[in-house]
Symmetry: none
Subunit: 211 residues, 4 copies
Amino acid sequence: MSKITGSEAPNQVPPKVIAMYRAVSALLQENKDISEMSVSMITGRAGIGKGTAYEYFDSKEEIIVCALLYEIRTVTEQASEQLKSCPDMESQIGKMLLLVEEHSQCVDAIMAFLHLLTDHSKEGNFLRERMAEENGKGPVDLLIRKMIESARVRGELREDLPISYITNALLARMISYLMYQCHHIGNDITPEEMRRRITESIMNELCKKNI
Amino acid sequence: MSKITGSEAPNQVPPKVIAMYRAVSALLQENKDISEMSVSMITGRAGIGKGTAYEYFDSKEEIIVCALLYEIRTVTEQASEQLKSCPDMESQIGKMLLLVEEHSQCVDAIMAFLHLLTDHSKEGNFLRERMAEENGKGPVDLLIRKMIESARVRGELREDLPISYITNALLARMISYLMYQCHHIGNDITPEEMRRRITESIMNELCKKNI
Amino acid sequence: MSKITGSEAPNQVPPKVIAMYRAVSALLQENKDISEMSVSMITGRAGIGKGTAYEYFDSKEEIIVCALLYEIRTVTEQASEQLKSCPDMESQIGKMLLLVEEHSQCVDAIMAFLHLLTDHSKEGNFLRERMAEENGKGPVDLLIRKMIESARVRGELREDLPISYITNALLARMISYLMYQCHHIGNDITPEEMRRRITESIMNELCKKNI
Amino acid sequence: MSKITGSEAPNQVPPKVIAMYRAVSALLQENKDISEMSVSMITGRAGIGKGTAYEYFDSKEEIIVCALLYEIRTVTEQASEQLKSCPDMESQIGKMLLLVEEHSQCVDAIMAFLHLLTDHSKEGNFLRERMAEENGKGPVDLLIRKMIESARVRGELREDLPISYITNALLARMISYLMYQCHHIGNDITPEEMRRRITESIMNELCKKNI
DNA sequence: CATGAATGAGTCTTCATTCAT
DNA sequence: GATGAATGAAGACTCATTCAT
């Protein structure tokens, strides 16, 4: 059988593979670190045989990376859907931060994903390779790019800033909010206030219209 | 012999321990991920016997965490020293970003440190435990806190922002710059421009005096 | 796979586990002390991979203890069978001492077993735990208890002695004979005479009919 | 410096060596098995440096074996002294069992000694070597031999029994009492009754005068 | 004499991966 | 396709012993 690439459409993913993906997400939610996940842990949780994992994937790293990509893709697609109804960037950002809060079950997956994007573990290297192949069509990129694109079309964005700076700045704010959510760094401020301030901060820095 | 706690003054650290710390830093610079570092790798690189590591530390995790804390502490102390001569927050931030660029050898250590702060690996758990014990006297805390404190004393800071939001905002910018430096996210601008924009962004958001 | 408990019926024991049991017995016969047996020694001798041991057992201690219990159980079952044909306690004791002599290959296992029963090694602690769980249905207990029980039924035993004293006395005599066999303590007496005297001694102390 | 042989007169044993001997005994009392004793454990408990052990001994095994021999020798010498005042074997045996009970701290050492006499651990091999060198002048031998000798001189002993059978029979009873004391095998009778029965048993078997 | 830092051989144990069923 | 028994490479950690001070 040909192996899983991680780019399958959700309805093309075999049920046993879905089970593995779910297992990885579940383990992440239980604060199991990626570096401490084993194949038997994943297959055991997925309720399938250990050998089965290798029917679909070539290595442990692939399983985990594909699971993460699947999760992230699912989340961003949902988000993308919901962001469509937002008339401007301000509401989009607010919405996005809110989504992060509401779907707390995926915060761990997103954090794990961000870690892999910026570490040098086997999984990280593998993830970046995969994303390079998809070449800018990666899920997060897509999401942020879409936001930026639609904002640009609407003429909301400052025009003197390079796109890459805008991407970087948005991403960094997302990360700082995730860190706040995940590890409760700083508790003299409510989530609502945090979201409001971050939105404000982004708008003021990247958009023409200040708040 | 009593074990190393990681809070030793730099001149109190035994030479073999220094050698281990250096080895960890070197490995990080060579893009070796923490999750893939082995004790024999570290001691081999340090030029000491494997058993020696356990004369000073109780576990691999301790070795790595103490090495990181040492590196971070060293860097922040140097930075702290240099920041003293800066008359205002603007120059302090600029200086700090410049330091990160100049000491590129420590960027990896800082990234690794940030990862551990926000993952659930053994090392991460251990690091946060240690930092909780030091209770706010951790190196990064100190550095950022000092900057904030001196800026507040000088009346530069906006007074309506909660401390933890300020911390979060500074952190977001640090991450932004590190992502730029380390992983080339947003690399169609020059380092100088990047530093200038980040400084501006911070000043405009957190300080009374805008640029 | 579910782990081995050591209470499996002999024909339920997987072949690789049998191989390990045999390896332990063989090593004991070659005068390898339990405290000096390593897992790789056992698996090497058993002709299986080191990892395989951990498919069936959770620790080295378990391997050794289960191997001993298996050996002892086998021996006592054989003995039990043979003792059935003995009409009275005198012949039973004589038979048993003779069996020990004839099956010299299992003397080492029995000695090792007795040591574990009375030391504080990890293996010893583990063995006693296991036997406590089986609660008096342990092999040696069974054998001695059976002998005592049938002797009592036949009215051979003195009635003024507590059962536990009888057990203790019988066990101690068995041990002293094993020490004689194993380490040749005392060589101015033939095995036959030794057995005869010990039988006599037991009969005279514990039974109504004296010799 | 010439090493310790284990045959030194008690007042010839250097204080640091005494400290080590005491440490070994203390550890035995705390149910630390010989196979799990480490040099640093012993020296740490003795309050001396680890290297010091090797000033006096050539190996860990030597330390432990000499410590045991010292303990056993001390005990048997004390016993020997006290037995002198006993007019006959019956009272000697009673006295001896009482001593074991009173000096419960040495029961563990005696048990350990018996184990080493009959296992194949490094320590066991070493102990038997040493005792073979002393050739029958070993402490236990001495004690038992003295008892037997004086009983024979007084004409108390049966004359038809080989010496090695008498030794074996006495040993069996010692083991019996130790099992009762140490491992509670046969513990539904009181110590007094146990001692009485064992004495009786020995007298009836080995002496002319029965009880 | 006494020490304890240093060492590396050796131990247990885990786990990704394979492959016969 | 699915499985899970089998494996051995690799890793953390221990500890007897040495030796420079």
